[in-house]
Symmetry: C2
Subunit: 211 residues, 2 copies
Amino acid sequence: MDKNQLVALITEMVIKQLCANSGTNKIPVAISNRHVHLSQEDMNRLFGANHSFKIFKNLSQPGQFAYEEKLTLVGPKGIFENVRILGPARPKTQVEISVSDGIKLGVKAPIRDSGDLDQSASLTLMGPYGSTTLPEGAIIAARHIHMHPSDAARFGVKDKDRISVKVPGARGLVYNEMLVRVSDNYKLEMHIDTDEANAAYLKNNDSAEIV
Amino acid sequence: MDKNQLVALITEMVIKQLCANSGTNKIPVAISNRHVHLSQEDMNRLFGANHSFKIFKNLSQPGQFAYEEKLTLVGPKGIFENVRILGPARPKTQVEISVSDGIKLGVKAPIRDSGDLDQSASLTLMGPYGSTTLPEGAIIAARHIHMHPSDAARFGVKDKDRISVKVPGARGLVYNEMLVRVSDNYKLEMHIDTDEANAAYLKNNDSAEIV
C-alpha cells in the first residue's frame, strides 16, 4: 500500500467514525419487563373460555398490544403477581423473564430468540379461572433490535445479524450479540430487559448507537 | 511520520492486540450484592456500644471481611432485610446498592467511586439496637477492578484509569468506564453489581478480559 492509498483508507475510516458519532446510527431504547404471550388454549385455561379480553394499550411495535388482564408466574422458589399479558395470541405460550427474575422464581431459563422454545424452562401460570404448568416456554429473550427494511438498508445490516450497540454515560457499555430483526411490520427500537437496562442505567426512550 | 515509524507503530498495535486475545488479560469476576460499610459511630448506634462484632468470613481483598451481623435498609418505597455488613469500620458509613435496589427502595443513589459520598443519597439503617437515617452515604458503586501494582504494570494501566473490559457469551458485552484501582493491598479482581452481572449472565469466578 502506498502513501496515497493509506491516506484514502484512513480518510474513509475517519469519515465512517464521524458518521457514527453524528447521530445517524441512533436507536431508541425500549425496556421489557417480564411478560407473557399466551396461546388461545392457555387464555381459555387461565381466564375461562367465555372471558373476553380487553386491550389496555397498543405497544410501539405495530399490531402488538397489552391486555388489561394480568396473571401470576409461579416458580419453585418464588412468584411474580400482576405480570402483563401481550397480544395477539400466539400458537405457543412464551414467558419472557430476566436473569434476576429467574433467580427469584428458581427457574433456569435459557437465553433464546423469541419463538425458539424447544426445551426451554417449565413454569406455572396462574389466572383467575385456572392454572397451567407449561412443560416449556419460559425464556430469557435475547437482546434484539426491531427494524424496518429501510432502517436495515441504512445501517447495512440484515435480518438475523448479530451486531454491537453502544450506550454512553457513567455506566456506559457495548451490548454485543444484539439480534437484528427486520420486517415491514417493525418500527426501529432496541429491546433489552430490566437487568440489561439497569447495568447501563438506561431508561425508556434513551438512545443507543450501532458500533 | 516516515514508513519505518509507521511500521513500528502498527507492529506495536498488532502485538498488543494479539496479547489481548491470548488470555493474558484475563480478570476474575466478583459480583457484589448490596452491602454496607459502617462507621464505628453507626455500629454503636445500630448494635449498641457494648456489642462485640463477630467476623463471618474473610473477603478476597486482603484485610477485608464480612461480619456475621446484618442490618435492614429502609427507603421510602421498600426495605431490604439481612443486608451484609463489611469490615473493618470506615470513617464514614457507605451503603452500596444496585440500580434495581434503588428502584425498589425508592432512593435515587448516584453512581460514585467508593468513598465519594458528598451529596449522595439519604437512607435509613435499622439494627437490632437502634436505627439511624444517613443524610448521605448511599451510592451505586462504579464498576471497578482491584489490582496489585504488578498487574497494573502488566496491563499498562494506572490507578484511576477508566478502561474497557469484555465478557463473552450469548449475553456478551463490553463494560466501558471500568475504574482501575491499584494498591499493594489489592488482589486482581473485577467488581460489578448484580444488575451488571445479570446483564451479561456472569457468575462469580467467571473471567473477563481487558480490551
